[in-house]
Amino acid sequence: MSTVLRIILQRLALGLLTLVIVSIVIFAAVNSLPGDFAQAILGQAATPEAVAAIRTQIGLDDPPVTRYMLWLYGAVQGDLGISFAQANFTTFTGSSNNVTVADQIAPRFANTMFLAGVTAAIAVPLAVTLGILAALYRNSVFDRAANIFTLSSISSPEFFVAYVLILFLAVLNPILPSLSNIYADMAMGARLKATLLPALTLTLVVTAHMMRMTRAAIINLLASPYIEMARLKGISPLRVILRHALPNALAPIINVIALNLAYLITGVVVVEVVFVYPGIGQLFVDSVKIRDIPVVQACCLIFAAAYILLNLTADILSILSNPRLRHPK
């Protein structure tokens, strides 16, 4: 077990290091965006004096390295700072109850996680089951139909899939709401109902990857001697696949699932916009528009962390799925 533990600790340390490097990249990239908050917020009224005043007030005049260190120092302690818009607003109105970036992001992030969770709960079992069945009945009509359906859904733009679903499930057959009106203390059932359309859209987008990888990873193993052995023991085809192929095909499947889950957290802006779903993607896009650097940085950091964490989990699960590592000689 110690080998596995050591590998896991190594991966964790590497993940942390990646996160720090990513934070530098994010900071550098966000700060090299043309224009700044002062100009964006002032718009037509951007006199040089006004711009300078706001810049000083929110600390945009400090050298980048200092700002990065301050930001990193805060971020490590869980303090992601105060959004420029908020800071500017409070000095303007003179009130002092600052809403931090964390406060702003938290509900949005929770919504995004909820959507990702619902989607994953539908998409992952669906994709893996379809993949297994496609491998079992490979080259059959079912296999081809599943391939064509998932491939066409992944090849269509997300907004198109979304509008088609709205047409059929909200307009022609008004079963589900076409707008995801989510608010803080909504009942679970209502919340689920409001989330279902965007979740279905995303399901159609992510299923193809996972299904095809499941199918390919299993079929890849079907020529192995131990699969032939299982067949020569008179084991039924379904059992051959579930018990003999699947456990050895887990590593690539887990990896592609992790990538798609990461996509569900970081790549859902379009779907959120179509359904007016109050997730982190919309907040992110809005913040980029007004160059609200603290919010943008925080969002990027969350996205990066989600990617790293999910890939790390996938790595660790892949390692655990290998009996050679779980049971050393």
């Binding site: 001697p225 023991k233 008179g234 009996p323 000689k329």
Partner: protein
């Protein structure tokens, strides 16, 4: 005895490049209950395909064109998949060549063992586990009550092969197909597996088809032998008749292969500096020591055979000589001068002097380069030849390995047979004009006739070019054929070394004795005699473990 299996006039075809090519052409065979039939032939003879067809099974890309397979009243060629599943594992079982690849790495041995009896509802789970332990004990696996709870990678090759035989026995089938079950094993391990298989087949009165390319092995196992050549039956007879009076020329040629030997060379003059001298070399992978204080010399123009089982450090010694694995202690002298430990620090000329030929010619040749290009590479690199000089040299080399350049230079490795590929490997080594070539199990993957051709070629090249060979092998017949001197290794140490006469003639070191006596002989009583002389509990691997390398 009653008839169990009848295959009549079966034609099998395999698809290659969209065309169906014949694999088996109208072979018939019969098998009675409790009888063992040996199927023998070179690779490509269609033995495995025929063996699987006896189970009503064909691999992807293979089909039964015509013929019938009747197993105890059931016609397998027309039976439904369900009917066949009911027989497979339960009444007909299979033991594959590579147990390491045929056990599922994700499950424990016992879980795989009980799968057939539980799925076929022959026995309950707990009964099956109990029975598994009993079979493990009968097959003399160490610690039979617990070994089943290990994963395949935690068990050695010989033990896995016996566990697979146990697995085949789980439902007490009427018929077992053994597909080269000992080919991948060392001689000392092979004996153990052979003895175990034979014993358990006799105990349960199981009929078997035993597929192998090794005549001496099949002589120990089979009641009758059938010889196949390229999908055709050559002849069939009971074992003793077949061994004493083979009728067909092809069968006789198989028997004759082991006759190749070289004349004894005069002894190396005393005081002559050996071409390569390995002096007190200790080497390790990480913390695991794989060589300990190994010393031997390779004289110019001679063949030194390094023998031992897998894991004895033979190939590691070669890696030390080539500089791929710098030794922890000791040094390698070339012509009396020390070589830098790692290849990175050796000069091009030092690198050129020692070349290698590998076991798997398949993986050692770049599949996308033509034979001409493969051989031209080292000629360019070491000799700096260009243009027509390069072409001429490549043609010379191809002529030396007896592959006419106009036919072979433009071909890809995939268009060559195994023996031809190995010849290309030899030409590539010769291209550097070395003084020594390390041959790492170069004939192990080849059929006997082809292997003999390679050995003859190597011998001819040695006479012409005065090459020294370090010949790594586990096959003592090969050693007998071409070695001048022999180094016997075990567990990373040299246990005995000397001229071939010294090592092969008594008195032997006990380990050498074990190795020599473990090589199967063409005598059907060989295994019986050996087992009774060694005692049942002192066969093969276990005996090897008892011999200390220090003695």
């Amino acid at each position: 005895m009653s008839r169990l299996l009848t295959i009549s006039d079966i034609y099998l075809e395999g698809r290659s490049e969209e065309v169906w090519q014949p694999i088996i052409n109208g072979v018939s065979l019969t098998l009675d209950k409790g009888e063992v039939l040996g199927l023998i032939g070179e690779s490509g003879a269609g033995k495995s395909t025929l063996g699987l067809a006896a189970m009503g099974f064909v691999r992807d890309g293979v089909r039964i064109k015509s013929g019938t397979v009747n197993f105890d009243g059931t016609e397998l060629t027309t039976a439904s998949a369900e009917t066949k599943r009911g027989l497979l594992g339960k009444r007909i079982a299979y033991v594959a060549q590579s147990a390491a690849a045929s056990f599922n790495p994700a499950h424990r041995l016992i879980d795989q063992h009980i799968e057939a009896p539980v799925q076929h509802r022959v026995r309950s789970r707990s009964e099956s586990i109990q029975d598994g332990m009993d079979l493990y004990a009968r097959l003399r696996l160490p610690d039979p009550d617990h070994i089943g709870f290990r994963y395949p990678h935690q068990v050695s090759g010989g033990q896995l092969q016996r566990a697979m035989t146990a697995m085949a026995m789980a439902c007490r089938p009427d018929l077992i197909i053994f597909d080269e079950p000992t080919t991948a094993l060392d001689v000392t391990t092979q004996i153990e597996v052979l003895a175990a298989i034979r014993e358990i087949v006799e105990q349960f009165g199981t009929a078997a088809i035993y597929i192998t390319h090794d005549l001496a092995v099949v002589a120990q196992m089979a009641d009758r032998i059938k010889v196949l050549l390229k999908g055709d039956e050559v002849e069939e007879a009971d074992t003793r008749t077949m061994l004493s009076t083979p009728k067909e020329d092809y069968t006789k040629s198989l028997w004759a292969v082991r006759g190749f030997t070289r004349p004894v060379k005069p002894p190396v003059p005393a005081g002559q500096t050996p071409l390569v001298s390995i002096q007190g070399v200790t080497a390790a992978y990480g913390k695991a020591k794989v060589l300990e204080d190994v010393s031997f010399d390779i004289p110019s123009g001679r063949t030194v055979a390094v023998v031992g089982e897998s894991g004895s450090g033979k190939s590691t010694a070669a890696r030390c000589i080539t500089g791929l694995l710098p030794p922890v202690e000791g040094q390698i002298l070339f012509d009396g001068a020390p070589l830098p430990a790692t290849y990175k620090k050796r000069s091009k000329d030092q690198l050129r002097q020692v070349q290698m030929i590998y076991q798997m010619a398949d993986t050692a040749l770049n599949p996308r380069m033509s034979i001409g290009q493969i051989i031209a590479r080292p000629v360019q690199f070491y000799m700096g030849l260009r243009g027509s000089a390069l072409r001429n040299r490549v043609n010379d080399l191809l002529n030396q390995i007896e592959l006419p350049p106009e036919q072979y230079a433009h071909r890809l490795p995939s268009e060559l047979s195994g023996g031809q590929k190995q010849r290309v490997g030899i030409a590539r080594a010769l291209a550097a004009e070395p003084r020594m070539i390390i041959c790492d199990e170069v004939t192990s993957a080849l059929d006997q006739l082809v292997a003999e051709g390679i050995l003859r070629l190597l011998a001819k090249l040695q006479d012409e070019l005065g090459l020294a060979y370090m010949f790594i092998t586990h096959d003592l017949a090969t050693v007998r054929a071409i070695a001048d001197s022999v180094v016997v290794m075990k567990d990373g140490r040299v246990v005995e070394q000397g001229t071939k006469e010294e090592v092969f003639n008594p008195p032997h070191h006990p380990y050498t004795d074990l190795l020599l006596s473990s090589v199967p002989e063409m005598d059907p009583d060989w295994l019986d005699n050996l087992l009774s002389s060694r005692g049942v509990d002192n066969i093969g691997d276990e005996a090897a473990d008892k011999i200390s390398v220090e003695s």
